[in-house]
């Protein structure tokens, strides 16, 4: 028992040394894991040089197809032949995973970030502004997307917003419903998922409804209230005052009684619909296209209150190891053919409107089917900020981390 404390002391010292070494170079928000901060004095990329031979992209499944899933869908091989940049895709299953990968030590160049992740990447100093002069085709991007708030941010407060990426595609959330439950009627309002109702098949919707398990869904509730409770004065469903926010969460608590399950995974939801467990839910065109019985047993609609949507942006890592190939991909990502093929595969709408015409896979009706005309009714995902997206205007909105804790509570029954 003599000098028993020595090994303990050794362990403790080593551990504390390790902890001290983990003291990070601080980023804007000090987020974890640490990332080197963007030095404002570093000149932005001013020209695209020779390709480095590879480009590493973090993407959602199905976003970057090379023909291996379906030979008709390949927009990688030609790029590789033209530029000599080999495309390495790392698939991520969630936005959280994308954030983790981009902040980690892997050598990623690009990421196809959704609106809930894009602002987090910007504020975390993980992505760099894109020099639009180097993207020759940028003005073919849908003008409504070109300066969208979820990737165009004035980070250095010089009065001019920087673009942190290039739009890739967008789509809207839809109301997917079972034709068996609704007989020949098409539901025209989100009330079928928010309020207790009797459906055309004679049964109530109690327990047969689903809702998305991500906190961003609060915006869908806010959107519903925008139409049905105008006295609340909700304008942007992502910029909610405390009062508006509480009204939305109250609606969600009411909805909790109706929900059979909160969906997280597209396939799980498809199975639930195919099994008859769910008959109505907010969903993505992906499920609508691929569920067993798509088009016959299951259809979709964008209800009259409008819908939330997602618009993904290809963003570049602040320390991208292959910036030249990355820029070449950014330019390639908005070419007409790719955009059309991608939209066809995904059931989404291209970021480049010219892609809607003349694409074999998409067909000329494809864009309309996928909801292009609904743009003005779509409220695209963006991470709620405390300043209501208007820095310096003195407004106060509920920030995202409160959304998350509140929604977790709602789902948990509190």
């Amino acid at each position: 028992m003599n000098r028993w404390w020595r090994p303990m002391a050794l362990i403790a010292v080593l551990a504390l040394a390790g902890a001290a070494c983990a003291e990070t170079t601080k980023t804007v928000t000090g987020s974890l894991p640490p990332v080197a901060s963007t030095d404002p004095d570093d000149p932005p990329v001013t020209e695209v040089g020779d390709g480095e031979g590879a480009v590493n992209i973090v993407a959602w499944a199905g976003y970057i197809e090379d023909g291996s899933t379906d030979p008709a869908y390949d927009w990688v091989t030609e790029f590789e032949t033209n530029t000599g940049c080999e495309v390495n895709v790392t698939t991520a299953g969630t936005s959280d995973e994308m954030v983790a990968l981009m902040q980690g030590g892997g050598d990623f160049d690009l990421v196809t970030a959704s609106g809930d992740a894009s602002l987090r990447l910007v504020s975390g100093g993980t992505v760099q502004p894109v020099n639009l002069d180097l993207i020759a085709s940028y003005d073919t991007v849908d003008p409504r997307l070109q300066d969208a708030k979820w990737f165009t941010v004035d980070t250095d407060a010089d009065g001019e917003a920087e673009h942190y990426g290039v739009p890739y595609q967008w789509g809207s959330n839809v109301l997917m419903y079972s034709t068996d439950a609704f007989k020949n009627e098409t539901p025209d309002s989100w009330d079928v998922v928010f309020e207790l109702k009797t459906l055309p098949d004679g049964k109530t919707n109690d327990g047969r409804v689903q809702a998305y398990d991500g906190a961003i869904y609060i915006a869908d509730a806010a959107l519903y209230l925008k139409a049905h409770s105008p006295e609340l004065g909700i304008d942007d469903p992502y910029a909610l005052t405390l009062k508006q926010f509480e009204a939305a969460t109250d609606l969600l608590r009411q909805q909790r009684e109706l929900v059979g399950r909160y969906w997280h995974d597209a396939f799980v939801q498809m199975d639930d619909f195919a099994n008859g467990e769910a008959v109505a839910s907010s969903s993505w065109p992906f499920q609508v296209n691929f569920v067993e019985g798509a088009g016959t047993r299951f259809k979709s609609v964008v209800p009259k209150e409008g819908a939330t949507g997602w618009a993904d942006t290809t963003m570049m890592h602040v320390d991208a190891p292959h910036p030249n190939c990355a820029y070449q991909w950014l330019e390639w990502s908005i070419n007409k053919k790719l955009q059309g093929d991608l939209a066809s595969w995904f059931g989404s709408v291209p970021a480049v409107l010219a892609a809607c015409k003349g694409n074999e896979l998409l067909t000329d009706e494809g864009c309309a089917t996928n909801g292009e005309g609904n743009f003005d009714q779509i409220y695209f995902w963006k991470t709620p900020q405390a300043d209501c997206f208007e820095p310096g205007a003195g407004k106060a909105c509920v920030p995202y981390h409160v959304w998350v804790t509140s929604y977790v509570a709602v789902i948990g029954g509190r």
């Binding site: 090994p7 050794l10 362990i11 080593l14 551990a15 504390l16 040394a17 390790g18 902890a19 070494c21 983990a22 003291e23 928000t29 000090g30 987020s31 974890l32 969630t94 936005s95 959280d96 995973e97 954030v99 983790a100 809930d116 992740a117 987090r120 504020s123 975390g124 327990g207 398990d213 906190a215 929900v259 059979g260 399950r261 909160y262 997280h264 995974d265 799980v268 199975d271 099994n275 008859g276 467990e277 991470t383 900020q385 405390a386 300043d387 106060a396 920030p399 995202y400 981390h401 409160v402 998350v404 804790t405 977790v408 509570a409 789902i411 948990g412 029954g413 509190r414």
Partner: protein, 306 residues
């Protein structure tokens, strides 16, 4: 010959200086676990003493306990209790299922059979965790094999009964909590079986003989002799089942209702939400739970007789 002599000299040195030998043996692992692992955990825990400013959402590095206070909020308390509850049920179920198998394997089988049964319990670990989980989705689906069989034998009503039960029930098989528990049990069962087999092997045959010589029936022998001696194995296995359940975040997206559990919270909070202090605080809770559990396990002798 000289190398052998040098070797002997070195061996002799270490024999006379046990602490030196100790240090040599320990240092690689110590360095690894101490600096890299423990250091990074402590670095993570620092965040739990910070907080996000309520309105701006920016990280404030001032020491505060408000993040831990936030853990006490009903919703978060629910998460912690729910997770611990599920882990406990999984451990219990795994112990109950594993015991007969381990007992039989340890004591009543020929060496060849024992090897076979030992390996048979081990093999499922080789197939992917994800695919095994998926297989259960396929089994439990409304159109899947379990209900198909039950309908054939007219036992579908029994399923309804289970689903209506409180706590473990749910609207359908897949969305019921009991399915989550069963699938976890299934996945971690080999981890419970193997230490149990090892522990039960160690029960000296002479104890059992003595017990029956003294007039005890098999059941009493079991209760009084076998079970207490098997406890270390049970506890060792439970460390796995408990902690693996505590940290998982993938399975709840496939089974059970939608309420969140601990691992998911850590994942989500550190991801897009960027609420690293809360993620770290949840981590600390998980650590605290496991440390307490390990302390109790040590008391039960699990560390001595794995």
């Amino acid at each position: 010959m000289t190398t052998a002599t040098t070797g002997r000299r070195i061996a002799g040195f270490f024999h006379r200086h046990p602490r030196g030998r100790l240090l040599l043996l320990l240092s690689p692992a110590l360095l690894w676990l101490g600096i890299v692992y423990l250091g990074s955990i402590l670095g993570l825990l620092r965040y739990s003493f910070w907080s996000l400013e309520e309105f701006t959402g920016l990280l404030s590095r001032e020491f505060t306990l408000t993040t831990y206070a936030a853990l006490w909020e009903p919703a978060n308390r629910d998460i912690i209790l729910r997770t611990v509850g599920i882990a406990a049920l999984v451990t219990l179920l795994a112990a109950v299922i594993a015991f007969p198998y381990a007992y039989y394997t340890a004591r009543f089988t020929s060496p060849r059979m024992k090897t076979f049964l030992f390996l048979a319990a081990l093999m499922p670990l080789w197939s992917s965790y994800l695919v095994r989980a998926l297989a259960w989705r396929q089994i439990l689906a409304e159109e899947g094999v379990l209900l198909w069989v039950l309908r054939r034998v007219g036992l579908e009503g029994a399923v309804r009964l289970i689903l209506d039960a409180p706590v473990v029930g749910g609207p359908t098989l897949i969305t019921s909590r009991i399915s989550l528990i069963v699938v976890y049990t299934y996945l971690w069962l080999p981890f419970m079986v193997l230490p149990l087999i090892t522990a039960l092997e160690r029960v000296p045959g002479s104890f059992l003989e003595a017990s029956s010589d003294l007039g005890a029936r098999p059941r009493m022998t079991f209760r009084r002799i076998v079970l207490p001696l098997a406890k270390p194995g049970l506890v060792a296995g439970s460390i796995f089942t408990f902690s693996l359940t505590l940290g998982d975040f993938i399975l709840p997206t496939m089974f059970g209702g939608s309420e969140f559990i601990l691992g998911q919270q850590v994942y989500v909070q550190q991801g897009v939400v960027g609420n690293d202090p809360l993620a770290a605080a949840f981590t600390f809770v998980a650590m605290a739970i496991m440390v307490v559990y390990l302390l109790l396990a040590k008391r039960a002798g699990a560390f001595e007789a794995l």
